[in-house]
Symmetry: C2
Subunit: 193 residues, 2 copies
DNA sequence: GTCTATATTTGGATAGAC
DNA sequence: GTCTATCCAAATATAGAC
């Protein structure tokens, strides 16, 4: 087994290119060039572009599961775990200001392309939603846990869109502070907000 | 002057196709087919695809200005005017669930394409931001008016992304209700939220 | 598994007749 | 202003040698 298979390299580089340049705009030639293989060799590993997309989404699902498991193990209580999620916006701010959220922008693009993989891409958001809902339940949010989870997810998506549209890091920081302030009022926030 | 010029038809149809299918994925052939003209004729009106994009963005800017002016004239006070903005999410829910927000998704796509027109697309969001800030100032929000405007804009962008990712109309309605509840607390909301 | 070469299609763009 | 015909480049995909 090599240190990293060609197939794994293709998926890894395709993931980055799809994020930074979009799925539709990324060609096989682009991926082959970055991986350092010929276009012909490419087809030995993947028959169609959709196959690569499937592999990229599968990879992202796995990485998301891994990250959530890590936060689950590391976080000191549900509130701190939710903060781990929110602070992704800060940790990845440079990329988010340049390219938006990897998951949100992929879902948006696939929706327009009417692409069959849109549902699988949305599953990644579903992982975050379910994990966040679990944390809110642990905070005592009860029936409102899922709504609160969707709210946090939605809020972070909005911040990502706006931060990339305006390239505004100040806005990003102030909204993250706003989410944190809101979180400190859960499970009993004034309006739903 | 014809009832509607070919050029205007091209811009109108391109606007729809760019929204529903994305800029990159929409070809000249697609636009020509919908307009009902030959590809050759196309180039009599626009030299490049970027020229069409410029015209589409200019059209959207004009339409946005017109809509804001209408809300300004019709709305009964700043709070009702802000509600006009928020309720776009409800009025356009079918298209938003299918294709997201026309402006947010265009900005996201152009950011990934590293396209020069990204800034002009973001100007449309800027129009909403400035208009909303004016309404919040009229509500007595003072220095916080622009931050509140960005917050509403960001919130609606998040709702659009999530509603299209999950095709979830219930979520869309409940978040709109949440924005309205929050708005009723402005200019003195508990946290920034 | 990897390469070169090539087939096929599509997309952006032009020339010139009507 | 509109059309047909055409060019060129790029993209997906395949065949077959090494």
């Amino acid at each position: 087994m090599p240190e990293r298979s060609t197939r794994a390299m293709i998926v890894e580089k395709a993931d980055t290119l799809f994020y930074e340049g979009g799925f539709e705009a990324t060609s096989f030639a682009d991926i082959a060039a970055v991986v350092g293989i010929s276009r012909g060799n490419f087809y030995h590993h993947f028959k169609t572009k959709d196959d690569i997309l499937d592999a990229v989404i599968a990879r992202r699902i796995e990485q998301t599961r891994g990250m959530l498991a890590l936060w689950e193990a590391e976080g000191d209580g549900p509130r701190a775990r939710i903060l781990s999620f929110i602070r992704m916006l800060i940790a990845n701010r440079a990329k988010i200001m340049a390219f938006g959220c990897p998951v949100g922008t992929l879902c948006s693009e696939l929706a327009k392309l009417d692409h069959g993989a849109q549902g699988r891409a949305a599953e990644i958001l579903g992982l975050f939603r379910d994990w966040l809902a679990g944390q809110f339940r642990a905070l005592g949010a009860g029936d409102r846990a899922e709504a609160l989870a969707l709210h946090v997810l939605s809020w972070s998506q909005g911040v990502a869109v706006m931060a990339s549209a305006f390239r505004d890091e100040t806005f990003l920081h102030s909204e993250v502070a706003g989410i944190e302030a809101w979180l400190s009022t859960v499970p009993d926030p004034a309006p739903l907000t």
